[in-house]
């Protein structure tokens, strides 16, 4: 190609005074940005290959490297931004759909940041979580609205199957194939240590991970990869994936290049074939059809495991959730449009769906109004970034949250958003053995355990500040939230007052 329309996004800045030519940057970059010039006796870089993943920056022992955004600029234009122009160049060059990874980077409102949490003063004492008991254990599943008694008058404590979480956080679905064996193992080990759950995603469960079954949620998605009776029985719960926040309305496509070895075996499809998850489940075109699948799965597992139905947050999410709550599902998982993905068409990711905060508020209200809130637990995901987001989500009505991007960041992900290239330098979103080994699950699981434990401390601190000593008492407690800089309509949808009211 004679004309290169695409100028590199980043520049690699090397402080030659600090560079000791140890070549760790060269050895660690799967994109082959760095190389040693024998004649010049110095390291040189080709920034056009750089994805800004910071592997070299983080491993450089003398901090000689930094990556900066290029200041090469197009003529200023508020409408035709540099990004809009280069997207056209890119598509004019390839004729293809633009692919992207992880959650949308677009500047949509983050409602978590426009809500403030209450605290006790004088009349309602706050609680010190270091001195007094504070309960973060959460049960997910259908709840009985009233107390049932046995013929002898004692309370009937038999419930439908429940998931018991030590913290109201779970690792959400990421398939083996989209992420590496070591990333999966890190999640599994951490879930086991923490007393929470991780989710297999739609790629089946590697035989090595059956031992973590009691902390595993097994997923059944439209491609039905790796689904067999042993798989369903292995997990603590079964999740039916109807949609994903990052790409509502479309399916998935794992390129044949990633279907190698154990991934092919685990997914139960031939090596090298593309793993295509259809957009819909071809046997589900109504809530009644969904109900059939829910009960098929319950039947297959002897009614011992709760069934989760995961949907993407879309415009009619409350009506859809109402249907799901009547389908026999035990838990609804709602995934907001800022949620992550290993690969999605960029236009879909950046333009389809609604924010999870609004979806959660309207679903919780709708289910309460219809008197079916106890039929299901609500788990939400789609960019939960910290413990304050969790506290706000629970106050808006969630029973627990799903985190995936945060978990990957804990494992080293730098959100370079090039998972779809399969060359993850951090050993997460790749199947290349030399890259996969960069993530030692012993280290990874420790970091995940640290993160969730830290969040648990913070959740307790914030609950204590509000004078609340259990997640139960915080759930749906919207009086604990106030909006800041929100319109009347937004406050109405969120069901909260404005700060000062």
């Amino acid at each position: 190609m004679a004309i290169n329309y695409l100028y590199p996004d980043y520049e690699v800045i090397r402080n030659q005074q600090r560079c000791i030519n140890c070549r760790v940057c060269e050895r660690q970059c799967a994109n082959e940005v760095h190389r040693y010039d024998e004649e010049l006796k110095m390291m040189v870089s080709d920034e056009s290959k750089c994805v800004n993943c910071h592997r070299c920056v983080a491993l450089c022992p003398t901090r000689a490297l930094k990556i900066v955004k290029t200041d090469n600029t197009f003529k200023e234009n508020a409408n035709w931004t540099g990004e809009a122009i280069t997207d056209v160049y890119r598509q004019a060059g390839t004729g293809g759909v633009l692919l992207a990874s992880m959650g949308t980077p677009k500047n949509y409102p983050v409602y978590w940041d426009r809500m403030l949490i209450n605290a006790s003063q004088v009349t309602n004492p706050s609680i010190d979580p270091l001195r007094e008991p504070m309960e973060t254990t959460t049960f997910l599943g259908q709840k009985s609205a009233k107390i049932r008694r046995n013929p002898d008058g004692s309370i009937n404590t038999k419930t439908t199957p429940q998931l018991k979480l030590s913290v109201p956080v779970m690792f959400s679905a990421m398939s083996y194939g989209s992420i590496s064996y070591n990333a999966h193992k890190s999640l599994a080990l951490a879930a086991q240590k923490l007393g929470i759950f991780y989710n297999t995603g739609e790629g089946g469960l590697h035989e090595d991970f059956y031992q973590y079954g009691p902390n595993t949620i097994v997923q059944v998605a439209s491609g039905r990869f790796g689904v067999h009776p042993g798989y369903l029985k292995a997990g603590a719960a079964i999740e039916i994936k109807m949609g994903q926040g990052a790409k509502p309305g479309i399916g998935g496509h794992l390129p044949g290049a990633k279907i190698v070895g154990d991934v092919s075996k685990t997914r139960m499809i031939p090596q090298g074939t593309d793993a295509i998850s259809p957009a819909p489940h071809h046997d589900i075109y109504s809530i009644e059809d969904l109900r059939q699948l829910v009960f098929m799965l319950k039947e297959a597992t002897n009614y011992e495991k709760p069934v989760i139905v995961k949907i993407a947050a879309v415009h009619n999410v409350s009506a859809i959730a109402s249907g799901v709550a009547r389908s026999g599902a035990d838990i609804i998982a709602i995934d907001g449009f800022r949620g992550g993905t290993g690969a999605a068409p960029a236009r879909t990711r950046d333009n389809v769906g609604i924010p999870i905060e609004l979806a959660l508020a309207c679903v919780d209200r709708r289910l309460r109004e219809e008197g079916i809130r106890n039929n299901v637990s609500i788990v939400i995901g789609g960019s939960i970034r910290n413990s304050a987001d969790i506290v706000k989500a629970i106050a808006l009505g969630a029973d627990a949250v799903y985190v995936a991007t945060s978990a990957l960041i804990a494992l080293g992900c730098h959100l370079c958003r090039t998972c779809h290239l399969g060359k993850c330098n951090w050993g997460i979103a790749t199947q290349r053995p030399d890259l996969v080994k960069r993530l030692n699950p012993e280290v990874g699981s420790e970091r995940l355990v640290n993160l969730i434990n830290a969040w648990n401390h913070e959740i307790k601190e914030m609950m204590g500040g509000m004078g609340i000593n259990s997640i139960e008492a915080l759930r749906g407690n919207r009086l604990m939230l106030r909006g800041i800089g929100l319109t009347e309509k937004e406050l109405q949808i969120l069901g909260i007052l404005h700060a000062g009211e």
Binding site: Q17, R18, C19, I20, N21, C22, R23, V24, R27, Q28, L59, P61, T62, A64, P433, D434, K437, R438, L439, N440, E442, V443
Partner: protein, 142 residues
């Protein structure tokens, strides 16, 4: 005794251990200054072949052949640790010939050098272990 153990499953062949070793034994406080334009002579070496890599340094054997072979009495065992007195070493290479792991090597002054688990420099704990990004080298009791 705590020793340095390697786990080739997690070794990335990044060679950082070699540079942290060279820095720890340089006696300097700034890594860039210590190693800029230097040809390093570390006491740990990454062996690589065919996609497999691992770092090798002194195993601190309970029956060390190097100590037995030393003609100058420069090598000795001190609380399980094999140490070298570089003033006594005559540079005969007998220890290099006898070590089954290739863990001794000539220093830039011509006499031998070996890993002493960072007990004789300012690092305190083995610098290679502290600098390993993937816990491929560990310092533990086994």
């Amino acid at each position: 005794m705590k020793r340095v153990y390697v786990n080739e499953q997690w070794c990335l062949g990044c060679h950082l251990c070699e540079y942290f070793c060279a820095f720890a034994n340089s006696g300097q406080s700034d890594m860039a200054r210590a190693l800029k334009d230097a040809v390093i002579c570390p006491r740990i070496k990454v062996e690589e072949h065919d996609g497999i890599s691992f770092a090798v340094n002194c195993r601190h054997c309970t029956e060390p052949l190097c100590v037995k072979s030393c003609i100058a009495g420069a090598l000795s065992v001190k609380d399980g640790l094999i140490v070298i007195d570089q003033d006594k070493c005559v540079g005969c290479f007998s220890c290099i010939m006898s070590c089954p792991f290739g863990a001794l090597m000539p220093s830039d002054t011509g006499v031998m050098q070996k890993c002493e688990l960072c007990t004789s420099n300012s690092a305190g704990k083995p610098a290679c272990v502290q600098g390993c990004p993937n816990r491929a080298i560990v310092f533990e009791e086994r």
